[in-house]
């Protein structure tokens, strides 16, 4: 059993993560003010007490649809207490094209979300096993791939490679960061090359797809996992549904590009409910532990 002192030490160590996670909780479901007493579902519109949402892992207690959760909140759900360590936390948006109004927009998004870029990199322990976990956050420029995101993801993969520990990436992305043009595109090659090297060295990569995973992220590291997991009902694809409808000039079938659709078409190993996320990861990590 844990001693009270140990618990206290963990509490102190996690203070930063806890604060950030609290700030995170429902800000994905903007325009809500956090903390709010009542929160209404973006899908069905019905309201429930915030505490009920929280107990339910931010899945609507009425209709069961998944609300996006912030990166820190997810990390708090995942890690063993007192083990979280953030990596590259000061790496912020670069502006390689000197794109009009981009810096201003980045600053206002940073202020709103408390994030510096669309990915949070970290290492720590899950079920006692050291891991690197990267979480893309859709609140920041729709989780789009920028030069800094590509660099952070690549560095995260390199840390896992160097420390020979499993890598878990939670994807959530609208695709490329338009404001960074070709630099955004190049991050697809950079991150894929890093995954390839990591894989050649025998590293385990669990790719966890959350709503939405599209575009350049789908067409790079997100689909290169040894194990691919997905949250229920997440939109996962390369092209967006609207673009496809315009191309084929007809409506898409119901459930097209949803996690369940991808699972039945052979691209996802398992759809995992949020409440089972940690346990499923621990099972997989243990299965890959060297004797």
């Amino acid at each position: 059993m844990k001693s009270p002192i140990q618990s206290l030490v963990e509490l102190v160590k996690d203070r930063d993560l806890r604060q950030k996670a609290n700030k995170d909780t429902m800000s994905g479901a903007a325009p809500l003010k956090v903390p709010a007493t009542f929160i209404s579902c973006r899908k069905c519109g019905r309201r429930a007490l915030h505490s009920r949402w929280e107990e339910n892992y931010y899945i609507c207690p009425h209709c069961g649809s998944y609300s996006p959760i912030g990166a820190y909140y997810r990390l708090k759900m995942l890690y063993d207490p007192g083990t979280f360590q953030e990596l590259d936390q000061d790496m912020a948006v670069k502006d390689p094209l000197d794109f009009p109004e981009y810096r201003e927009k980045a600053e206002s998004q940073a202020k709103k979300t408390g994030l510096k870029e669309a990915v949070v990199s970290s290492k720590g322990k899950i079920g006692g096993i050291p891991v690197v976990v990267l979480v893309l956050d859709s609140r920041f420029f729709m989780g789009s791939m920028s030069q800094a995101v590509g660099e952070k993801v690549t560095r995260g993969i390199e840390v896992a490679d160097k420390e020979q520990c499993p890598l878990i990436i939670f994807s959530a992305s609208g695709g490329a960061r338009m404001q960074e043009g070709i630099y955004s595109l190049m991050q697809m090659a950079k991150t894929s090359a890093a995954v390839e090297l990591f894989s050649e060295h025998g590293g385990l990569f669990i790719s966890y797809l959350t709503h939405p995973t599209t575009g350049g992220v789908t067409a790079s590291f997100a689909t290169l996992g040894d194990i691919t997991l997905a949250e229920p009902g997440a939109l996962i694809g390369f092209a967006g549904p609207r673009v496809i409808e315009q191309t084929i000039n007809s409506k898409l079938p119901k459930g097209f590009q949803k996690s369940e659709y991808l699972e039945s078409h052979g691209f996802v190993d398992k759809i995992v409910e949020r409440k089972d996320m940690r346990e499923t990861l621990i099972q997989l990590l243990k299965l890959h532990q060297k004797a």
């Binding site: 070709i182 995954v195 090297l197 067409a219 997100a222 694809g237 092209a239 496809i244 097209f256 590009q257």
Partner: protein
């Protein structure tokens, strides 16, 4: 701007050709040729939007033209050997200055039927898997790979999604990063989005002077950022998608010059210039070990 100029020069050229058939019209021809030259000279400084127009010019040399002009002994390889033959990727084995190489590229087709059968150069997962299959053999038999990039983007269709468009491109990116043979990519027309990158993870990226390479087509870019596809020319300006811009950004390694007004009317001089650059670039890798060749490519992308 270039569009209007080319309309005029095309009309002049038609007149010249008609006069060539007749005798004793040399003076008249000379005058027309002067006029044509003057028109072309007026567009030495092309706007990015003009380059976009030239990159998509219907008479611009395509992958089949490059293959027949620069290579000998071409043997076409078809199909992904899994499910389908995607004609938007054209490739196989050939000789370049006598040495066996693997060559492949996006195929758009010239006539309407060809355009349709090649899906206008928009590749499906089967095409990326076909490209990968061809490149796997290049690795096995130690052949350098030369790719020709010219696509409006990967195909955003229902089956393409169902068959794993994202996965197919991602696998190519990872695989190409692992190759131990030199990969030279030539962006010949429009290199748009992940659809272009899927065959463009190369040691050296050459760009034809009027080619473009970008995260998305200018139309798509304008739609996403400004919800207005008619602002494509403006988008082209801020995207930095011309060969010159990309050379400055260290994405392109070399720019291959085209004749004034675009390569479509003078492909021979382009073939000659490209042949020289390709030969020089391949020679650069001759002394390198397989390991060094891979490292060279990895460091190019690691530092972007």
């Amino acid at each position: 701007m270039i569009k209007e100029v080319l309309e005029k020069t095309d009309a002049l050229e038609e007149k010249i050709q008609a006069l060539l058939a007749e005798e004793e019209k040399t003076e008249e021809i000379k005058v027309l040729q002067e006029e044509k030259k003057k028109l072309l000279d007026s567009c030495k400084d092309l706007e990015p939007g003009d380059r976009v127009f030239l990159a998509r010019h219907p008479r611009r040399p395509h992958v089949e033209d490059f293959v027949s002009a620069l290579f000998t002994d071409f043997f076409e390889q078809k199909g992904d050997h899994l499910y389908d033959e995607d004609r938007s990727i054209y490739g196989g084995i050939a000789r370049f200055h006598g040495r066996p190489v693997t060559v492949l590229g996006h195929r758009k087709g010239r006539t309407v039927e060809e355009n349709l059968s090649c899906n206008f150069g928009m590749t499906c997962p089967e095409g990326y898997r076909k490209a990968k299959r061809i490149m796997e053999q290049a690795e096995k038999f130690d052949r350098p790979i030369i790719t020709f990039v010219d696509t409006p983007g990967a195909y955003p269709g229902l089956e393409a999604e169902q068959h794993g468009q994202g996965e197919a491109i991602a696998k190519n990116l990872a695989f190409m990063s692992s190759l131990h043979v030199p990969v030279i990519a030539v962006v010949t027309g429009e290199g748009s989005s992940g659809g272009a990158l899927g065959i463009c993870v190369a040691n050296k990226i050459l760009m034809l002077e009027n080619a473009i390479y970008s995260v998305l087509s200018p139309e798509g870019f304008a739609t996403i950022l400004w919800k207005d596809s008619s602002r494509a020319a403006e988008a082209a300006k801020v995207m930095k998608l011309t060969a010159k811009d990309l050379k400055e950004a260290n994405v392109a390694d070399e720019v291959v010059p085209e004749s004034l007004g675009g390569a479509q009317d003078d492909p021979e001089s382009l073939y000659k210039a490209l042949d020289q650059v390709l030969e020089k670039t391949l020679a650069y890798y001759d002394g390198m070990s397989r390991h060094e060749i891979r490292k060279d490519r990895l460091s190019k992308f690691r530092n972007i």
